[in-house]
């Protein structure tokens, strides 16, 4: 019998990120193969306070490790402690955010453990954990098992709903920081330039308005009013980001954000394979493009062949009529 360890993620000001709750869902689904329980590990400058936010999700324990150096994340500083705690578990999991994808493979190497990254599913089959992974830009799904004594994985947030609070009060246990090796002394956290936005986060939004290169310098001017009318997050294609019309963290696609909102607007986006890989899990897809041959139309539930500079303002007006 073995247990699962969920590695929690925090915002700059020490609040639990909602993404952590997807990793909890992942751990719960894997547990039948392990036979044990799951615990949550919290690293932070003031981990006890953050740990208190996580005692209501049914964890056997919430493990808290406080150290001033954890205020700013570097994989080199976090890895030794996560790995040391992880040694007592059969599975170590986090959500595949840029934090999870940076840290967990490094933890896996320290534990000499195999790693299944960015899983879209997990199940217990015959006492084994089977990981489902999107590959080839989402054009194939592979099912794999890992044969090392400890297994490490990350969960694609859009595929694992946030765990709901189940009541109860998991005990909080303090754990000691493990002194990091030479690597940590040779890396310095310089800054985090956060993009400030009043909008929902791309990976958590229920409606997303994404724009392509066709918007040119009018990316924000055209799309912001629509996003506001819909309470939507703003996204972009790689082409729009590369051209400098939208910031890098707007990018939806195979190597950007993977999203699955209930409603996705692809505006002036032709539909490259890499973009489709990031949004085809959306429930309803709307495409607006003046090129009737654009590949995005094959995917869209509702395609509108139109000049976006005319159609988007008209759409906003139509939405306002209903409001």
């Amino acid at each position: 019998m073995a247990d699962a360890l969920v590695v929690a993620e925090f915002t700059e000001d020490g609040k639990v990120k909602k993404s952590t709750l997807s990793a909890i869902t992942f751990a719960k689904r894997a547990l039948p193969a392990l036979g044990g329980s799951f615990s949550i590990l919290v690293l932070g400058a003031n981990a006890a306070a953050a740990a208190a936010e996580l005692t209501g999700y049914g964890a056997a324990k919430v493990l808290a490790c406080s150290d001033a150096s954890f205020a700013k994340y570097t994989a080199e500083n976090f890895t030794p402690t996560v790995a040391e705690v992880g040694k007592a578990f059969g599975l170590v999991v986090a959500t595949a955010t840029s934090f999870g994808k940076d840290l967990l493979p490094r933890v896996a190497a320290r534990l000499d453990a195999a790693y299944a990254g960015d899983c879209s599913g997990v199940s217990a089959e015959g006492g084994k954990i089977v990981y489902k992974r999107p590959m080839f830009a989402g054009n194939a799904s592979g099912y794999c098992s890992l044969t090392t004594p400890i297994q490490v994985a990350t969960a694609r947030q859009s595929e694992f709903e946030a765990a709901a609070a189940s009541g109860g009060a998991s005990p909080i246990e303090n754990v000691a920081k493990v002194a990091p090796g030479a690597a940590a002394s040779r890396v310095e956290f310089v800054s985090l330039e956060a993009v400030k936005s009043e909008r929902p986060e791309l990976t958590e939004a229920s409606v997303i308005v994404s724009g392509g290169r066709a918007l040119k310098e009018k990316f924000f001017e055209v799309l912001e009013p629509l996003a506001t009318a819909l309470g939507a997050a703003l996204g972009a294609s790689r082409a729009a980001v590369d051209a400098g019309y939208a910031p890098g963290d707007f990018q939806v696609g195979q190597t950007g954000k993977i999203v699955a909102p209930k409603l996705y607007f692809a505006i002036g986006i032709s539909g490259a394979i890499q973009h489709i890989a990031g949004m085809k899990g959306s429930k309803v897809i709307v495409a607006i493009n003046k090129d009737p041959e654009a590949p995005i139309f094959q995917l869209a539930d509702y395609g509108l062949v139109a000049d976006l500079f005319v159609a988007v303002p008209a759409l906003i007006a139509e939405l306002k009529k209903r409001a």
Binding site: E76, D102, P105, A109, G117, T148, V187, V207, L304, L319
Partner: protein
Amino acid sequence: MKILVALKRVADPDNANKVKISAAGDAIDTTGLEWKTNPFDEYALEAALRLTENGKTPKKREGEVVVVTLAPKEAETMLRAALATGADRAIRVEANDADLDGRLVALALKALVVAEKPDLVLLGKQAVDGDSNQVGQRLAELLDWPMATFAATIKEETGALLVGREVDGGVATLRVKLPALVTVDLRIVAPNSVFSKLSQAEAGFKHNEGVRFAPLPAIMAAKKKPLEVKALADLIGGNQLNTKYSKFERPPQRSGGAKVKDVAELVEKLANVSKVI
């Protein structure tokens, strides 16, 4: 600066929707797709070339760029192409993808790094076939080196690199002392993304957008550059494969394709048929 760049060949990512699943469902079949260098690894090579040259004289290498792959002999075409764009030497570790997982690749690369002693290891952030995103992070840990993943900018300082990383919600900047490992993201090949100490001396210098192409004389010359072949077992010892794929399937296809005539019909459908607004 001596830089080791790891390259992987992948089935043409622009036609990834044409990958097939074997009839038994136990293998991916990429027959008919051309082999290409993993785009992120190409960007890593471009970054390595930019870091080892004075932008004005790209033919003169200040330092050394060594490219390495773990692949069958046919992948030497990819290595020769890398040599033609400016890399100095190549190493191919004889191996098949089916015999490798991220753990074994990292172990093999570690042995090469110990032997080659580069100041910097550069890799793509992920290979776009397996989409696993783990080798760089694992290798950094095995070496006990600092790392910066998902790099969008690199600025060389004395004995260190200032790296801008694309993370959720913004840009995180790290300073890593050499030797270090960096995995690169898309934007690393923008004109102003990489500054070596040499190119910084040229105020206002901009690289070309994207990766460079080799001129014909360089392609000919690349045939004479050294390419060494190594055995996988010599690098990883008795370590075994620990990631076992049992089944592959195609994801469910969407049944899209419907058109609406105007904005009014679109809003009506969203409200009354799909009920999402």
